[in-house]
């Protein structure tokens, strides 16, 4: 339960991130992160850069068709934007021959085997403990002040503020 709690605190606060490189497919612009992404992909891509390390602009998925109705298979000479359809499909338009992209993502934190194995920063371990306590309270059927504890944790986990960290780019 500690492992699960740490994963969700990390996801909520975007604490530990990693990068992966993806080779651009010239025949399409859509990549399934569950198949093409890294094994520790945790549902959130924060930013994408091209092979010259230039930032690629985030695009709302609904706007993809406004730029080009053939965005699914568009080819070009420079990658212009990226988007996420749901949490599993990464879209990079247009496709460019012999190119790669680098994406930054929130990682799935490893299994906790000892206290020294916790990977989130010390100032958030309290959140991990509180979330673990809530899960354990489900198992032991202790619901006194449960709602207040959930709301308090939600506020403290900065779920509301995380967007400001990226200027809303990845949200």
């Amino acid at each position: 339960m500690l492992t699960v709690a740490q994963q969700f605190v990390n996801l909520a606060e975007r604490l530990i991130t990693n990068v992966f490189t993806l080779t651009i497919n010239v025949n399409g612009t859509v990549y399934d992160m569950l198949q093409n992404g890294p094994a520790d992909y945790c549902g959130n891509i924060l930013s994408v850069t091209d092979n010259n390390n230039n930032e690629i602009t985030f695009c709302n998925p609904g706007a993809l068709g406004q730029n080009s109705r053939s965005w699914w298979v568009d080819r070009g000479t420079k990658i212009l934007s990226w988007s996420m359809v749901g949490k599993t499909l990464l879209v990079v338009v247009p496709s460019v021959t012999a190119s790669t992209i680098t994406a930054r993502y929130t990682t799935l934190t490893p299994t906790i085997t000892s206290a020294s194995n916790m990977t989130v920063p010390d100032d958030t371990t309290e959140h991990v403990a509180r979330l673990t306590e809530l899960i354990c309270r489900i198992k032991t059927r202790q619901f006194t002040d449960f709602e207040a504890k959930v709301k308090s944790l939600e506020a403290d986990m900065r779920l509301v503020d995380a967007m400001s960290d990226t200027g809303g780019k990845a949200d």
């Binding site: 699960v4 569950l34 998925p61 749901g86």
Partner: protein
Amino acid sequence: MDATVVSYVTELSNGEADTTNVLPGIYEDVLGQINIPPILVTTQALSPNGDYSVSLPEGSISGLFYFISNTGFHYYQQLGELSVREADWLLPTWRNISSPQNGQTVYSFVRESRNQRDIFPVPASSANIYALFTYVPSVANNLPSYAPTDTLPAWLQMPVALLCLGEEYARESNHQNMAMSKACTMLGQLMLKAVLK
């Protein structure tokens, strides 16, 4: 059905939840509900029906984007969307139109039911149609061909297990417990917020 979700449900319910007969239905229901803001999305080629409409496969929840590659087009283009009323107003005979009219270059689809779309104008029989849609991973061994896997990503397992427990304890049974149901749902929604944020 995801084995880790089943083990979470069994563990947190202390074995009370019926994971054989009841949980599969609840699991599908929960995944259908949480996938309304799209989370699990995949893509698949669709075969036109006899009336040139296309249907999303079983297990799909909602179509997000449709693409067509038709005779005369060298690339796939995204279909625009029309309501039935808009299509009727635009051209009352729209169901019989088989080629773009008056310089129209964009194909559209008309939403007539949750999973069925009529393509307008009617495409050639050789047209290729693809859809991006949200889906529920299989609950049994009849895994649809489009589903990458019947397991859920690790970042969805606990929220789904908690939301399943919320429904399990809300239904009429010898272990019905509304306080437990409310707590599970509340905690499941909190964890789901972390995923959706």
